[in-house]
Amino acid sequence: MEKDFLEHGLNFNRRRFLSRLSLGLGSVALGSLLVPDIFNGDSSDSGWVPGIPHFAPKAKRVIYLFQNGAPSQLELFDYKPRLRDLMGQDLPDSVRRGQRLTGMTANQTSFPMVGSFVDFKQYGDSRSWISDLLPHTARVVDDICIIRSMYTEAINHDPALTFFQTGAQQGNRPSMGSWLSYGLGSENKNLPSFTVLLSKGRQGNNQGVYSKLWSSGFLDSVHQGVQFSSGDDPVLYLKDPDGMNKQERRKFLDHLSQLNQISYEEFGDPEISTKIQQYEMAYRMQTAVPDIMDLSKEPDDIIKLYGSDSMIPGTFAANCLLARKLSENGVRFVQLYHQGWDHHGNLPNDIASQAKEVDQASAALITDLKQRGLLDETLVIWGGEFGRTNYSQGKWTAGNYGRDHHPRCFSIWMAGGGIKPGISYGETDEFGYNIVKDPVHVHDFQATILNQLGLNHEKLVFKHLGRRYRLTDVSGKVINDILA
């Protein structure tokens, strides 16, 4: 009898189980009608095709003047008169709060604070404080937005640089320029959408920059940054070899592309079609590039605007001028690196020389873009990978000292591209050690850049090895307060 009851219960449950199961499956089936890609392997974000911005962009292009080696904010943008009063006194523990230091100063017995050797003045309608080392930047201060409250996670050059460029410290992720190329496509099909220009300071400590910084990571290699160098051969291997004329080159490419097409059909590797495209673009670049690289056609007043150095190929000034030309010609992302800001010692002398090399040309770039009506749609960024300590590395005198790496706070500036001009954002404490107002993380900075280019940083994703990757990894907030 008991068994019968049990059986009855089980029967009932089985029936119920089956009916519920079918109901559940029905619901899932109904829902699946709304997810068109559910049975396709590729489940990249639906509805959005890479190449078109998510929303109307303010900026169409970026020129990033990367100051490699980490310029000292305390001598350039972040005015801390109190540090001069405290000259030589030990950094209070209440300020440092046990934060980590690099191996270069961690064993120092004292941390003597040093004020800037150079004076600051207020400029423009915005009354922003700018150091006397940057007289030209001071002239355009009402066109730029200075962020004094940047902070990063890395404490050494390579990871910090990689973090800024790719959103991760370890490398092998796509660079910011590659993400933009992927997200927005190229504007001018005759030039790469992401180009890189390098220059070195004449004095001081040059930290390396490596091509991994402009790698396209797991994105298609058409988005890779292309380095333009000074000299007769700006893009390596672009020139036809001696004895080959245009027609032969064309024929050669046609046949090569047929062969590549065959192997693409056979293997289906997307890198093969990338290769075909790259060859074709290189062919068109053969006419476009020499025209752009030739700075001798620039009028005299432009050269005077950018300064003497702009006549010498390979300098920061010449690269700024080149950056304007590339950007004007529809290159989405022009990345400059200027090495030599790593002033662990002998800072006053070296930073003065370094600032002189970049100041005039950086300001000139703003003026030049503006007078062509391009500043509205070009985002210009100036800054390094972290800041420098408020205490001296090693021995100090008022006229000679050095500063170690400091990721807790540093200053950068942005201009154009829908960024509010003539403002300063964020504040550091009177010691110039910690941020007290409006901190901006590197991911926030990246999210803001993408936002200005019409891309939602949370939607600009690429699925790789089973995970959707973003430039801003899993964080980042657009800094709305600096948007015009």
Binding site: L23, S27, P57, A288, M311, R372
Partner: protein, 715 residues
């Protein structure tokens, strides 16, 4: 309610729960067809059912075990039906909500909270419904369950309300900010007064008069309150108003008091600037200078809330756009889902009037057109004037003439016009832009004079005329040094010197005797300069209006290249360069020891055998050597040169024992020359011994030194 119906409802709730789970999981991949979107939009209407029904049901359930109701069959059935109906409608509402959330307008933290509260309400109440008839279910569960569920219901409803009505909808003061155009706006009436109205007047009015201060009219504002005058015009730092605003939030006298809506940073900044600018009550916003901070802030506060462009024209045919797109004419969609297009032309050679004409097919959709540096003529401007929705037009460095520009008059939507580097004249612009939306015109490099620009700025205060940089002759910058373009500094017979400077119309002057070139006596390089001897070429660039360049010094060597070169001992493995040939490649290395052109010796001597087909009279043999003590690079200890008619009959022709550098010597490159006895030879042997022991002053004293040679010079 009959049992069958109840079973249906129960099953439906179950299915809805599964559907919700599914939709949540595929949250970011949903694509909602148009017809279903309207179902989603019914969410804000439909949601009122579950709120009302569930609340009622929860109340009934709460009192379920009350003596009075316990035995009433109707009470039990009614509660049951209400709960079932409520959960069912809540499930439907959630599905609708999920569909609605896919639409772009909703985003952010509030949405997430709303979503998860709503979803958990449905799940938990469904579980609750199943369990409420179990044996263990009692008064405690009923009360706790209904209270928790009611809280969930309130939170879900609250966040939903925040989404539709905005934050602080109930509490915030009723806003009376009327929209005024920037042109008409007065600084006080439309910018400053609204701040008082919103944040201050609720306490400082005719009825309340806190601190005897009234902010309702101009007179009372000027009068101030109990503590004195509200502000001193022009002196914000001494003004009570700003002092109170800037006190720390916790301070007793901080205004507005904590707990009341606070001033935003922009608002307090505007008050500061207004007081600073003499606190005028009648000034117009547009009377302020264009880049005045108060004006910029005022303009942004007057801007309508939603600046996003909305276009009322339809999108262009996709196929047409694709067909028109090519390498030199790029047509891009402004944004996903936007009908607007932006067009850019590249490559002068590929441009023609026809290529612009073809765009007529999409003329309605073009909002931005870049023709910078294209040979655009006046005729094309007429065509462009038919692109009625154009907002941004770039005509920099085009061939348009002064006359053609008037064709653009009809472009009512134009906001930004770039005319830099064109032949446009002052009078063309003078009459053109009355009553237009134009915001910015670039006229750099156009020949419009400063005084004319001033006049234009006065005439059109709303347009930002960008005149850019003009070289007024005050900045004398230094020319760069001339560059030697020759491919090598060593020649065998003669050298046609090829000097280059990146600037046009420049004088490159030079000397060959080692003296400094000057702007008067030194000859000007004219493209023909032939040299036949080793010498030092010094050049300098000159141009009027510029500082002359630094002197560029080029050391040029004449050297005989042997017909056969053999290096008898291997060089240091880190400095192999290109072997023996790199000693005669005419390329000189720079001062960096890691330059790949340096051939290095440390363990072995440099032993070089050279053969000439024709016997030569050789007077000098030089080794171009790097001296860089910092990198432990020292010159040879000794250089022996042997010569003869063949390899077997060599005799010593010359010896050099180079002077060793001292501690203070800077790195440099030196040609170590051995003078030979006069003899005609067809075979030479050079033996250079690297320094075996580095001198004692050096950090690596006693160790062998490295010797680096990049070229052997034979004369």
């Amino acid at each position: 309610m009959n049992t069958k119906l109840k079973a249906y409802a129960g099953n439906l709730i179950f299915s809805l729960n599964i559907l919700i789970l599914f939709l949540l999981f595929y949250d970011d991949q949903l694509i909602i067809p148009d017809w279903l979107q309207s179902v989603g939009r019914l969410h804000p209407m439909f949601l009122h059912f579950p709120i009302a029904i569930l609340f009622l049901a929860f109340i009934l359930e709460y009192f379920r075990f009350n003596e009075k109701f316990r035995s009433q069959e109707f009470y039990a059935k009614f509660t049951d039906a209400l709960l079932l109906g409520g959960i069912l409608s809540a499930g439907i509402t959630v599905v609708m909500g999920l569909i609605l959330s896919v639409e772009d307008a909703y985003e952010g933290e509030q949405l997430e909270w709303h979503k998860w509260f709503g979803v958990s309400l449905v799940f938990i109440s469904a579980v609750f419904y199943v369990l409420r008839n179990s044996k263990f279910y009692n008064l405690v569960y009923a009360k706790a369950g209904t209270v928790i569920l009611s809280l969930l219901l309130i939170m879900a409803g609250h966040f939903g309300a925040v989404l539709t009505h905005g934050e602080n909808f109930v509490m915030e003061p009723v806003s009376t900010r009327a929209s005024v155009s920037l042109e008409e706006a007065l600084v006080y009436d439309h910018v400053i007064q609204p701040v008082f109205q919103e944040k201050c007047i609720s306490c400082h009015n005719d009825q309340k008069l806190k601190g005897s201060l009234k902010l309702t009219d101009t007179l009372s504002i000027l009068k101030g309150g109990k503590s004195g005058k509200l502000f001193i015009a022009g002196k914000p730092d001494l003004s009570l108003l700003l002092e109170r605003i800037h006190l720390p939030l916790g301070a007793k006298k901080h205004m507005p008091p904590s707990g009341k809506p606070q001033l935003t940073e922009e608002e307090s900044r505007m008050l500061y600037l207004w007081v600073k600018s003499q606190s005028d009550f009648k000034q117009k916003v547009t009377d302020l200078p264009l880049n005045d901070s108060l004006r910029i802030l005022a303009a942004s506060s007057l801007k309508p809330a939603d600046p996003d462009e909305q276009y009322d024209f339809a999108a262009a045919d996709e196929k047409t756009v694709r067909k028109l797109n090519n390498f030199y004419r790029r047509i891009e969609s402004v944004a996903q889902g936007s009908p607007a297009l932006s067009v850019s032309f590249f490559n002068k050679a590929a441009y023609s009037a026809a290529s612009l004409e073809e765009l007529s097919a999409i003329k309605k959709q073009i909002v931005s057109l870049r023709l910078s540096r294209m040979p655009v003529k006046d005729a094309e401007l007429k065509l462009i004037s038919s692109f009625k929705n154009l907002e941004k037009l770039d005509l920099n460095f085009t061939d348009i003439s002064s006359k053609g520009i008037s064709a653009l008059k009809g472009l009512d939507n134009l906001k930004v016009l770039s005319l830099s580097g064109t032949a446009v004249k002052f009078f063309d612009l003078q009459s053109m832009f009355a009553g237009k939306n134009l915001k910015e015109i670039t006229i750099w490099n156009t020949g419009i004079s400063d005084s004319e620009i001033k006049q234009l700025k006065q005439q059109y205060p709303n347009i930002n005329f960008i005149s850019g940089y003009k070289d007024d002759g005050s900045s004398m910058i230094q020319l760069s040094k001339p560059v030697l373009k020759n491919n090598g500094r060593v020649f065998s017979d003669q050298l046609a010197v090829n000097l280059y400077h990146p600037r046009k119309s420049i004088a490159i002057r030079y000397t060959l005797d080692g003296s400094e070139p000057d702007s008067i006596k030194s000859p000007v390089y004219n493209g023909n300069l032939l040299i036949k001897e080793s010498l030092v070429l010094k050049t300098k660039a000159f141009k009027e209006g510029w500082k002359s360049s630094e002197t560029a010094v080029f050391t040029l060597f004449r050297s005989i290249k042997p017909d056969q070169i053999s290096l008898m001992k291997a060089p240091n493995e880190n400095y192999r360069a290109a072997g023996a040939n790199s000693l005669f490649d005419a390329q000189l290395a720079d001062i960096d020891p890691n330059n790949n052109n340096w051939l290095g010796f440390m363990e072995n001597d440099l032993v070089l055998n050279l053969n000439f087909k024709q016997p030569k009279n050789i007077r000098k043999v030089g080794l171009n050597t790097l001296i860089s003590t910092g990198s432990s690079v020292f010159p040879a200890q000794s250089i022996h040169v042997y010569g003869g008619t063949d390899e077997k009959s060599l005799s010593l022709l010359g010896i050099l024992r180079p002077a060793m550098p001292g501690k203070e010597d800077k790195p440099g490159i030196k040609n170590l020359e051995v003078t030979l006895r006069n003899k005609t030879v067809s075979c030479l042997k050079i033996v250079a011994k690297p320094l075996i022991k580095i001198p004692s002053w050096h950090a690596s004293k006693g160790k062998p030194a490295l010797m680096l040679v990049d070229e052997v010079l034979i004369n």
